[in-house]
């Protein structure tokens, strides 16, 4: 499956990185295949692999060589592996990385080595906002952390929520998801009355749950990894009756199959749900599940779609590699009907796409016999860009969302 090539020491002299052979497309893929994020890494690779298998590894006449490298989920290792992919394997494009810090670490590598980097998962806002000018060879096919939060804030207002407590994992991604929600929610008249930040990897929420203000209308959570599983359980055990709304990763299909019935009714926002009721998604879910034995998560979908977008560009060039700068131009102009819905890139090379508000329900889907938990879409916000309805210039003038921004004006 994975082609790994070993360059004999002493043969490859110099560092002239001119990819040879016009009709070959060499793609490097960076994902954590060992360590605590190994299972997410598998979803990422599987998504890309599925498109490769369906297209027979032929992108408009170019034969695709697909090389996977392990980042172990650590930014410094990701940088080293990206250097390996570009210098030794002479890849045209490298894709992937999982966490936001990996995205921030890989984008400068693309600038330094003048090689295209496609951030299919890392969602750090500034990668395609305040910092994009520094990274002329970086393209994002995933999302910005705050992108789903903006319409979600408006949705929360529509539900009549006035006072919301946020509890989010204390790292950059958490700050951005919560920050986006706060800005939009307070923009339409809501109030964030309390912000709690348990550290990333918290297992025992005992010190946090009793602190949650009892006069709140709803709880907004943003969890990541195993935290996603622990928090709803402990919240239910504490007898919570308030509505729970959340950033997409708290309930994505990567964690959903391991969750119990206590999460039924929880609502979250993301650019993908495995339960999107379209023929394109039904086909994707069935194929993916048959092949890999599990429901695809957004990690699978975004890499599947990345492959689709690259394929689209290569069709246009009839399989000829157009050069890094030209490739970035071409992919910026691509519009695809992806599994998640229509996707195109904005002028800062971040997708404009549907944002789905979805509710966890136990039901049968796509003809599967068992009752399972699915993220049923209850509302679709079409063509959402990273700046939502805010003015781009003003948005870029404010600092990036952080633990202290937006400030908690209504905290009690």
């Amino acid at each position: 499956m994975l082609k790994r090539r070993m360059t004999l020491m002493g043969l490859a002299v110099g560092m002239a990185a001119t990819p040879a052979a016009a009709q070959e497309l060499r793609i490097g893929f960076l994902a954590p295949t060992t360590g605590i994020f190994a299972q997410v890494g598998k979803d990422m690779v599987s998504g890309f692999q599925l498109w490769l298998d369906e297209s027979g590894g032929n992108f408009g006449g170019a034969k695709v060589t697909f090389i996977v490298e392990d980042t172990e989920g650590k930014p410094p290792i990701a940088v080293r592996k990206a250097e390996k992919l570009v210098r030794q394997d002479k890849v045209h494009i490298f894709i992937g990385g999982l966490l936001a810090p990996t995205g921030y670490a890989l984008a400068p590598v693309s600038t330094r080595l003048k090689t295209v980097y496609i951030a299919s998962v890392p969602a750090a806002d500034d990668l395609t906002q305040r910092d994009i000018a520094k990274y002329p060879y970086t393209v994002r096919t995933g999302w910005t952390s705050s992108q789903p939060s903006h319409p979600f804030g408006e949705w929360a207002c529509e539900q009549g929520y006035k006072r919301v407590v946020t509890i989010g994992a204390d790292f950059a991604f958490g700050h951005e998801v919560v920050g986006g929600f706060q800005k939009a929610f307070e923009g339409c008249g809501g109030r964030i009355i309390q912000k709690l930040w348990p550290p990333l990897g918290t297992k025992d929420f005992g010190p946090y749950i009793p602190q949650i203000k009892q006069n709140a209308d709803a709880i907004f959570t943003l969890m990541a990894g195993p935290m996603s599983l622990q928090f709803p359980k402990q919240l239910a055990a504490a007898g919570n009756r308030k509505p729970v709304i959340a950033g997409g990763t708290s309930y994505d299909e990567f964690v959903l199959p391991s969750m119990g019935d206590e999460v039924i009714g929880h609502v979250s926002a993301l650019q993908y749900s495995a339960a999107i009721d379209t023929p394109a998604n039904a086909g994707f879910v069935k194929k993916y599940r048959e092949k890999f034995g599990k429901v695809p998560s957004y990690y699978s979908e975004t890499n599947y779609t990345s492959a689709q977008m690259i394929h689209e560009v290569m069709e246009k060039t009839r399989g000829k590699w157009p050069g890094a700068a030209q490739f970035v131009k071409l992919i910026s102009a691509v519009k695809v009907d992806a599994v998640r819905g229509p996707v195109r890139l904005d002028e800062m090379r971040n997708p404009v796409q549907n944002i789905y508000i979805k509710k966890v329900e136990k039901r049968k889907m796509f003809g599967y016999e068992k009752d399972e938990l699915w993220n049923t879409v209850i509302k679709t916000y079409p063509n959402v860009g990273q700046f939502w309805k805010f003015k781009k210039q003003e948005f870029l003038k404010q600092p990036v969302y952080s633990r202290d921004y937006p400030p908690c004006k209504f905290c009690e």
């Binding site: 295949t33 392990d70 930014p75 390996k84 921030y104 670490a105």
Partner: protein
Amino acid sequence: MTMRKPAAVAAVLIALAVTTPFAGPYPILLITQALVFAIIAMSLDLLLGYTGLPSLGQAAYLGVGAYLTAILASRYGFGMDWTFWVVVPLGIFAGAATAAFFGLFAIRASGVYFLMITLALGMCVWGLAYRWNSLTGGDNGINLPGRPEFGIQLADDVTFFYLVLGFFILSLAALHLVVRSPFGRSLVGIRERELRMRVLGYNTWLHKYLAFVIAGGFGGLAGVLLAHLNGLVSPEDVILTTSVDVLLMVVLGGSGTLVGAAIGAGVVVFLREYLSTLVPWWQYVLGGVYVLTILYLPGGLMGIPERLRRWRSATQ
């Protein structure tokens, strides 16, 4: 015997200097990385191998040097030209100063308690790197604007390799002088039997403290070089795993030999970074090497010639 060892080390270093430029663009980076880790592994060997202090917090000094370099470079553009030669002593000083502070707490203990205290202090530095967002960038870390340029361009990997090789040779020589000096001999005495050294009138606390500070200084140096090697400083560089890795490098190569620590660094970096690009089961190899070394080579890889000699004389 005594003349053969330095000659062998010199021969290996010359061979490395001559062949590395032809090693391909990725292996050059790995060899450079191995040399950087060799410096910090040797600094730990001064503690573990010569003084008998098993520190699990050596990555802290690496982190202090690396973050200092990154912050100066990214905020003030300092250290990107000839001022690099100011940053190097600054990094060494910062590492040593941190060790001087931590040493006040750590040197009171010995054995497993020393291990725990250094571990805790190391985690403090990691905690600062991870949580002090405004200074360290939090979990995003800091990207450096590039490598320094002063007449020669360190952006070129071969040039940068020679620079690191130079620092490695200087570190090896300096640490060699330290362990051969009367000071170093008394460290060995403390390792063997501290009480006797104290009875003989040595201030063993001060000896251990100075060794700790010296080791911190070399850790800081390794940090400066690592920051420019990766172009990125991240809390992952300071995390406990790095300290454990460094400890394993020393044990693997053979503690109390300096050269062994360098060899251990080479082996670990090769297995971790190169083997992992070839096979998905590289972690089993790494684990197997550790287990086999501990079981059959208590003296580390440097113990092999000695064992061979003994085995030969036993069979004759």
